[in-house]
Every structure is written in C-alpha cells, then in structure tokens.
C-alpha cells in the first residue's frame, strides 16, 4: 500500500494522522476512504456542486479542492461533527428535519455545512444573503426553497438560545 509520511490534522475534535494518502491528495478521499467519515459526499470533483463542503478552522471549503497539505495541522469539521458531543442536533440539522428538506438527500450534508458557516458569520441572514452564501451548493432535486426556510428557522432557534426562550 502506498504510504504517506503521516499528515496530522484534527477532525471533529479528534487528532488524526493520515497515512494512506499523500499531501497532494484531496482531503475528501482521506475523510471518506481512510477515516471512514462518509457523510461528506463526492459529487463533481471540481468544486461545482458543494456536496463535499466541510469547515476548516470554521471556514466552509470544498474537501475535494483542498489538499491534505493545506488541511494539515488545522481543525476540520465534517457533517458528523456538527451535532453537539451529547448528540444534540445542531439547530440547522433539527430545522432540516422539521422542514423535511431532503429529497434524495445526497447534497444535504454540503448544504448544511455551508449554512452553518453562514449562520456563524450572519446570525440572522436575509433571503438574498442566504442565496448568496448557498450559491455554490447544488441540489439536483430542487430543495432550495426548503433549504432557505430551514435556515431561517434555525436562525430563529439559535436567536432564542439553547433553552428555547426568547
């Protein structure tokens, strides 16, 4: 088996060493094939569709277009790491369920990761801010309107705070 010198990065709070893949390999394949984190999807391999969106140090990036060298030593969060440690869903994940957003569901991990970054930066986004932030995430089934509704709902839930008061 081809070996790499060992690339260290933090994935969902856990320190990992990548050994199958070289520094030039896309982060996506290390996540999927080596770390078995299969929630991040392969869609196009060209940063067109956004299905492979993850956060690196809180910034949404395409895991296919990010090399392991670029991710080395940094903090990667995937869809598997979005919920709280105890399993409490992120407000976006809950809103996605409440609004029944997924159809085939293949793009939704990427959609949620982009939306999470949006809400971190813009806690109460307008429709056009949502459209701009989500422009890079394609849905072949056409769930865009429900994506938008769910983002608004999650923003409201987060504004109310963790106890749901407000």
């Amino acid at each position: 088996m081809a070996k790499s010198p060992g690339i260290k990065l933090k994935v969902n709070g856990t320190a990992c060493t990548i050994t199958w893949h070289p520094p030039g390999a896309p982060l996506l394949w290390a996540l999927r094939d080596e770390l078995n984190l299969l929630g991040t999807k392969f869609g196009c391999g060209a940063a067109y569709c956004g299905a492979c969106t993850v956060h690196i140090d809180g910034v949404p990036v395409r895991a296919f277009s990010t090399t392991l060298a670029e991710a080395a030593g940094r903090d990667v969060v995937t869809i598997e790491g979005l919920a709280a440690k105890g399993g409490t869903l992120h407000p976006l994940q809950q809103a996605w369920i409440d609004h029944d957003v997924p159809q085939c569901g293949y793009c939704q991990a990427g959609q949620i990761m982009s939306a999470a970054a949006l809400l971190d930066a813009t806690p109460k986004p307008t429709d056009s801010q949502i459209d701009d932030a989500m422009q890079g995430n394609l849905c072949r089934c056409g769930t865009y309107w429900r994506v938008r509704e769910a983002i608004h709902a999650a923003a409201e839930a987060m504004a109310r705070g963790p106890l749901g008061k407000g």
């Binding site: 394949w29 929630g39 999807k41 995937t78 085939c104 072949r140 309107w145």
Partner: protein
C-alpha cells in the same frame, strides 16, 4: 376499485409475533412486470414489544417512497406512526413483486395493494380482540395501534394481540377506512431517513464499505461501442496505490457492459490519479455526433417520411379542419440525467456467489441480468439496495453493476467502483433527442396534438426490436380530466448508437415536448432574448442539471423584474411559494424552447 381480485392468501407464523404474508396481485409497473401475476408480499410485522415494522419494498431515489408506502400501510392498519419502524426490504422479486422505481406511478399503482395489506391486518387484529372479549366485531373500533371495545371502553394494544391474530385465517376481503378517517395520509410526515441524512450517516451506494475493500475506476471508449486493444499496463501498475489494471471485454449489450479498462487501487484517490495516466488504443465505436443527428432529424420532419415507425390519425385532414393552426418547430438535444451521486456500485465475488450493494432504480432485475454473464444461478446473486442519490431514469440501467461485477470477478475481492463526474456525463445513457414539428391544441382542452417527430429511441437489439418511443395516455387515477394531449401522428426514427434511457417522468419524450404552454409562460415572464433563454437552459450540462441555473430565487427575480405585471389569474398561478416553485421548475426543465423564434418555425 378497491378489491384486489383473484388473490390467494396465506398465513405465515413466526416466533417474533404476527407476520402477515400476502399473495397479492401485483399490477404491472411498466416493463418490470413480474412473469407470475400472483406474487407474495410480506410487508408488515407487529412484534409484542409494540413495534410495527413496515418494509419499504421499492428503491428510495429521492421520491419519498420509503416513507410514502409505509404511510399507506400504516393508515389502513390504523397504526400510530410513532410505533412504526421502516426498513428497506431485501431484494427478492419473488416475494415482493416489482422492486423497481420509475415512471412516477409507484404510489398510484401500488396504493390498493398496500391498503389491502394494512386493512387485512387490521381486520385480523380486530377479530382477535373481539374473540378475547367475546364481543361482536362490530362493537370494536381501531385507532392508535389499538382495538377499542366501544360499549365498554376496553382497549387492547396491537402488541397484545399478535399471538392471537397470528392464529386467524387471513380474510379474503377487508373494509378500507373512509377517507374522512385518515390520520396519516394527507399529513406531512418527514422522510424516515432524514435524521441519518442530516447527521451524515452512511446511506447511499457510494457509502458502502466492506472489509478488505479495494477501489476501482472503469474507463470506456468515448465513441459508443468502441473497445480497447491495448493500454500502458506496465506503467499503470507501477503507479502508487495501484493494485491491478486490466482490460475487460463487453458482453455485447451497450446498456449492460461496454468494453473498457479497469484500474484497482487502495483508495479512490489512487484509482482516479492512475486513470489520468491511462493511454488506451481504442478500436471501433460509433462516430455520430449531436450535430449530424440534429441535421438528419430536421430533414426528417421537414420532408415526407421514408420510414415511419408509427402513424396515427389523418394529420392533413386535422390541420385543414382545425379552427386555428399554430405551426411550431421544436427540438431538444441528448439530455444527461446528472444524478448528484455519481454512478457507483460495490460487489464481492467469491467464486460461487456474488454480493452486490447497488444504488439502482432497478435492483430487482440485477440477478437475472447478471447471472448469464457471471455463469451463476440467479439464487447465487445477492443484491442489497442502498439509498440512491437521484435516479431520474438513469439508474434503471445497471451498467455500473456489470462493470463492478466484471472487476470483482477478476480479482475476487470486495470492490467499490466509482465513476468520476466526467465519466457520468460522457457515458450517461442519455434521454434520446427529438425534433418535432407540430400543431398544438387550439384550445386548452383540445384532445389532439398533431405533429411529426424524429427521435432516437433505445437502439434496437435482439431482445428489443425497433419500435417507436411509447406514449402512454394513462394518467393517475386521481385525475379525472381526460388527457389533453394525444400521441403525435408520426414517429420517425433517427438512429443513434448511444445507449439511451428514460428521463423522468414518463412518457419521457412526449412529456417533455408537451408542456409548451408552460414554456410560453416562462418566455412571457422572461425579458432575456430567446437566444439567451435557450443558452440559459441548454448551454451546458452543468447549468442544465443544476436547475438552479435558471431557477434560483435570484435568477428568477432577475427574469421577472422587468416583465409586465402579471394578470390576476397569472398571479394566482405563480405565488412565490415553495409548492409553486417545486411544481413549476421540473415542468420548465422539461419543456422545449423553440429554436427559431419567428413563425413559421419549420427548419430552413
């Protein structure tokens, strides 16, 4: 039409509770008709712990069927949805009948079968409760997974009745619930996989992982039907991570296994990297392209046809007597399905058996299709159905299953084959193109639609002789109005060697050609010149498949901003709500824009 007639029933006892097995008449679902019209179904299992397991028998491709089918059963069963656990049924066409999903007819076609399954179970549970209490069944009512003796108010949960009900004969008929009593159907119930989807749990075909699994790519000839004669094998095998590389012969059927070169590696990354280094000598293959095809089709519709596959009605007479004739000319190209999950499949061949994890719309056909190729009996082929990241008709063909089967047969290890996006566009089984000259209905309710169409149906093979694309006038039984469009009067075939497949929903060609008035509405509200509108829709596959290319809220706003204010009826039709958007977008996608905006629109 509630009764499913000609049915035999049987009762299956199991240690874990009440399992109802049914021999039910399974209506033909398009081409996937089961040879035996009476096929047993086993869809419900109620266990003493109160769980109601309902099996979803058909592929979930994003159409929501894994939720919708169990909802229908649970409704007639009078189950509390909170008690229902949904699982994907194993692929077993002998037990479940058709397990393909296509044509947008599954719920309408299977509705009564599923109701029957639920209603029969409910009748048996009611009998069991009535016998327990020694009261007439007519005094018992059901609801929330329980039977109630109305006069006395006594309640027995279904869970407490499983053993007794299992001893009862399955009744031939069982009353359906009145529609007014529905508690589940008609309400919004979220997809049963939603939590797994939003937390990133593995669900899709591409998420399949097997112990010791290796990763493969498969390179085919750019010209349909071409085969490799040699490739830089030694060089490829030396590349990092590459375990094996070899040529694969086709099985002679373009929609199953085309010849190509396989590379097997320790990761998808190494397989993809090695693929970039491939140097293959190709031989043969069709060299037709879309431009020559288009020119040929234009000639066909313009001139008197030399060879017609179908001709119905008297076109000239109809035009001569019509109150108004609108002469239009339309065409559309080969269309990719562009499922967001690229084609992929995982399989493990172990000499006398093969196990397959397939994101396919047609899983129930895989065993029969593969058996002769692998030299196995159909019983030695186990197929697991995974969630599918978009079907749209593409995954009715199981070419990726054949490809991974060929690779695992050669190396004997579990293999995951992944197509790149480029593979997916280059080797899609495109929806066939069509060129149509037509006179559309003069009134909205007119029932005829005359015209000439040159199209490219699936290439004829020994099994499927040449025929015109089929047009079905069947409509959902819930729609009472007659079809407003009848088949075109002429079909002409314009052959292409490209494998083709349906492009949802049926009837693909007619459905896309038909909603011209919707296209007109789109045109009316769009201020861009026609050439640009066409460019928006067709300029590239990427823009096309990503419906947001012209349907984003932002783009929609741009398109409508400068348009004249809509009439009051148009306003009613086009609210800026989600439901309207979701309905409108596919219609617009499927509609055909005139390629030449001025009348008359015959090709020059």
């Amino acid at each position: 039409m509630n009764a499913v007639t000609g049915r035999r029933t049987f009762l299956k006892l199991s240690g874990a509770g009440l399992a109802l097995g049914f021999y039910l008449a399974v209506p033909k679902l398009g081409q996937a008709a089961t040879p035996n019209a009476f096929t047993p179904n086993a869809l419900i299992r109620i266990t003493p712990d109160g769980k109601i397991l309902i099996l979803a028998k058909t592929p979930e491709i994003g159409q929501g069927i894994k939720t919708a089918f169990p909802m229908i059963i649970a409704e007639e069963l009078d189950a509390d949805w909170a008690d229902v656990v949904v699982e994907q049924a194993a692929i077993n066409p002998k037990l479940y009948g058709s397990q393909s999903a296509f044509g947008s007819t599954a719920v309408a076609d299977t509705f009564d079968i599923l109701r029957k399954a639920g209603a029969t179970a409910r009748a048996m549970l009611t009998s069991a409760a009535a016998q327990t209490w020694k009261v007439p069944e007519s005094e018992c009512a059901t609801g929330k997974s329980a039977v109630t003796h109305t006069p006395s108010g006594r309640v027995l949960k279904y869970a407490a009745l499983t053993e007794k009900a299992a001893m009862l004969p399955v009744p031939d008929t069982a009353p359906f619930k009145a529609r007014a009593d529905y508690k589940i159907l008609g309400t919004r119930i979220g997809g049963v996989d939603n939590k797994k989807i939003v937390t990133g749990e593995p669900l899709f075909g591409i998420d399949t992982v097997r112990p010791g699994m290796v990763f493969a790519i498969y390179e085919k000839c750019p010209n349909a039907g071409g085969k490799p004669t040699a490739f830089n094998e030694a060089e490829i095998k030396k590349l990092p991570g590459v375990l094996d590389a070899f040529m694969v012969e086709g099985n002679g059927r373009a929609i199953e296994l085309q010849p190509g070169v396989a590379i097997v590696a320790t990761s998808t990354y190494y397989a993809f990297e090695a693929k970039k280094q491939l140097k293959i000598s190709w031989e043969g293959g069709a060299t037709d392209d879309s431009d020559t095809h288009r020119a040929q089709a234009r000639e066909m519709v313009k001139n008197a046809p030399a060879e017609m596959l179908r001709s119905e009605g008297d076109l000239d007479a109809a035009i001569n007597t019509a109150a108004k004739v609108i002469d239009e000319y339309y065409e559309y190209p080969f269309i990719t399905h562009a499922t967001l999950e690229p084609q992929n499949c995982t399989a493990h061949f172990t000499g006398n058996a093969i196990e397959i994890w397939a994101p396919s719309q047609g899983c129930d056909r895989i065993a029969a299709q593969l058996a002769p190729y692998l030299g196995l009996a159909a019983e030695q082929i186990t197929v697991h159905h995974t969630r599918v990241g978009g079907g749209f008709g593409r995954r009715l063909n199981n070419d990726y299953v054949f490809e991974v089967a060929a690779i695992t047969k050669r190396i004997g290890k579990p293999v995951k084959l992944t197509w790149s996006r480029e593979d997916d566009f280059a080797h899609d089984h495109y929806a066939p193109p069509a060129t149509t000259a037509t006179a559309p209905p003069s009134t909205p309710r007119a029932s005829w639609w005359a015209g000439r169409t040159a199209s490219s149906p699936t290439p004829p093979t020994a099994r499927t002789p040449p025929r015109a694309p089929r047009f079905s006038t069947r409509r959902s039984p819930t729609r009472s109005s007659p079809p407003t469009i009848s088949p075109p009067n002429w079909w002409l075939m314009c052959a292409s060697a490209r494998p083709s497949s349906r492009w949802s929903p049926p009837p693909a060609i007619s459905a896309r050609r038909a909603p011209t008035r919707k296209a007109s509405r789109c045109k009316a509200s769009c201020t861009k010149p026609p050439s640009q509108r066409a460019a928006i829709m067709w300029s590239s596959s990427w823009k096309f498949w990503a419906s947001r290319a012209f349907c984003t809220p932002a783009r929609r706003a741009r398109c409508t901003r400068a348009a004249p204010p809509p009439s009051s009826s148009a306003r009613r039709k086009k609210p800026a709500g989600a439901a309207s958007f979701r309905r409108a977008a596919p219609s617009v996608l499927r509609s055909i824009l005139p390629t030449e905006p001025t009348s008359p629109r015959w090709p020059k």
